[in-house]
């Protein structure tokens, strides 16, 4: 059970595929137009329930509850050897020696 007033994230389909713009590529037209938004939960609920939230600007939004206490997980990415190689090239080429 996720308690009322918990900071949560919800998901909502804004337009179904048949309601979408005519002027978009087929791969986009096949899928719905979706939204995600965060806010405070207005009633106790479970993940997967249709809920109401109050957003940062005090608007009421409805949607499916997907996450309680959402947090940022983006980072600097995993190790990439090519990044290391570029570093070596730049430092090597800046040394004062003659180039071919």
């Amino acid at each position: 059970m996720i308690k009322k007033d918990t900071w949560v994230e919800i998901h909502k389909v804004l337009l179904n595929p048949h309601e979408r713009s005519e002027h978009i590529p087929q791969d986009t037209k096949r899928v719905p137009f979706e939204m995600r938004i965060k806010g405070r939960l207005l009633n106790d609920a479970e993940v997967g329930d249709q809920v109401e939230i109050e957003t940062e600007t005090k608007r009421i939004e409805t949607g499916i509850l997907i996450k309680a206490n959402p947090y940022y997980q983006h980072d600097f990415g995993t190790y990439v050897e090519k990044v290391r190689i570029m570093k070596d090239i730049i430092l090597f080429e800046m040394e004062d020696h003659d180039h071919e």
Binding site: L14, P25, D27, R36, H74, V80, M94
Partner: protein, 467 residues
Amino acid sequence: MSSYERMLLKKNDIMKDALKFDYELFEYPGIGFDYEKLMDHAGFSLDDVKRIQNHQQVGNTPMVELKQLTKYARKFAKKGYGARIFLKDEAMNLSGSFKARRAAMAIYQAKKLGYQGVIAATSGNYGAAVAALAAKNNLKCIIVQECFDSKGIGQPEIIEKARACEAYGAEVVQLSVGPELFYEFLKLLEETKYFNASLYSPYGIMGIETLGEEIHKDILSLCGKAPDVVVCTNAGGGNLTGTARGLKKSGAIHTKIVAASVDLTGLHMASDQDFNKKSFTTGHTGFGIPFTTNPDRSDVPRSAARPLRYMDQYVLVNQGSVFFITQALALLEGMERGPAGNTSLAAAFKLSQSMKEDEIIVVQESEYTGAGKHFNAQIAFAKERGIELKMGDPKEEIPGKNLVFPSSGQMIDVKEIPLDDLRKTYLKRYKDTLLFEEDYEYLSLELNTTLTHVKTLMEANHETKKR
């Protein structure tokens, strides 16, 4: 009629309420409008803009001579060649990019007109800028961004931008791929009655004129002359337009204006599947070309960003080269910036090599970097999506398939798009329109060329059509 179509019908009324700016005042009888009158009507002189931005801690960023990068570029230039490369460190603005200049004006106007809040449709730095300035001016703020694909995977750079906006107290509405973002944007404007902090209003453009003026003054005081070349990363066209206007207003009339974009040819911007195959979310051809050849495709009736009026050259660089130069900037100058804002730096690195040693080339912006938007984050994200990573000749890069990093600084190159190709694309939509002399006069201003040349280009379009 779908709810989408119904909303688009209300577009003009919603827009009028959300900007309080009557674009019809400037329309000519034919295809054109009075651009300068539109800009004047906004009612701010360059000095007003400076004063407003000063109050908001925006502008007056450092101009840095990139001596090490210049030295690096000269290794690949003929003797006596290799212009001095300067960088206007716009990352030092509030919120970390030049976009604060645009946001400062939009927010000032919203406040003056008595709006309770602002809304901006942007997945980029502009969101953070609007959010930061709204916070400072006690306005509510909603940022609408195109963020994730149908699998729910978000672009790391856009996720970082959402974090920044939320840090400044904004509400962030995250959407899946598609132009229907505009539908949600209109719906929110109608619901909240907030101000449309459009990137393309006159306020959004005049905010950048101060950048052009500062560049001229900075270089004058450091080098005793105006810059020979200014390179602008080009997406929606506002950056280039405002910078060029500011340079001209301050008297730098001979400075050559170069547009630079990351080459994403082949990737469709409204494609769900292509969305996460690109390593740049802005500064690329997916915005640069359409907004240059059709500026009025924006979220206002007449865009104040009209880059073809001002550009002298348009060059493209590949994704791998921008990552390479981003790394070089950190390694050789101690400046961790970008990557998207370094598009013009990659171009300047190459262009400087065919300029004389005593000439000056200015890269007119930088942007903050961080988790998600760091170049390592973008490259690792591409690798996870199955994009091949290669060292080699950047010319072999195929957007969406691979990233090719130059195996030497010498291989960083630019691909030029002839301005006449862009002009012809611009003119295509008038091929079945009866044009009068005043229409041609308007077009000659829009395309920054002679009336005769406009007519020649129109005829060339007809020839291609017949063939």
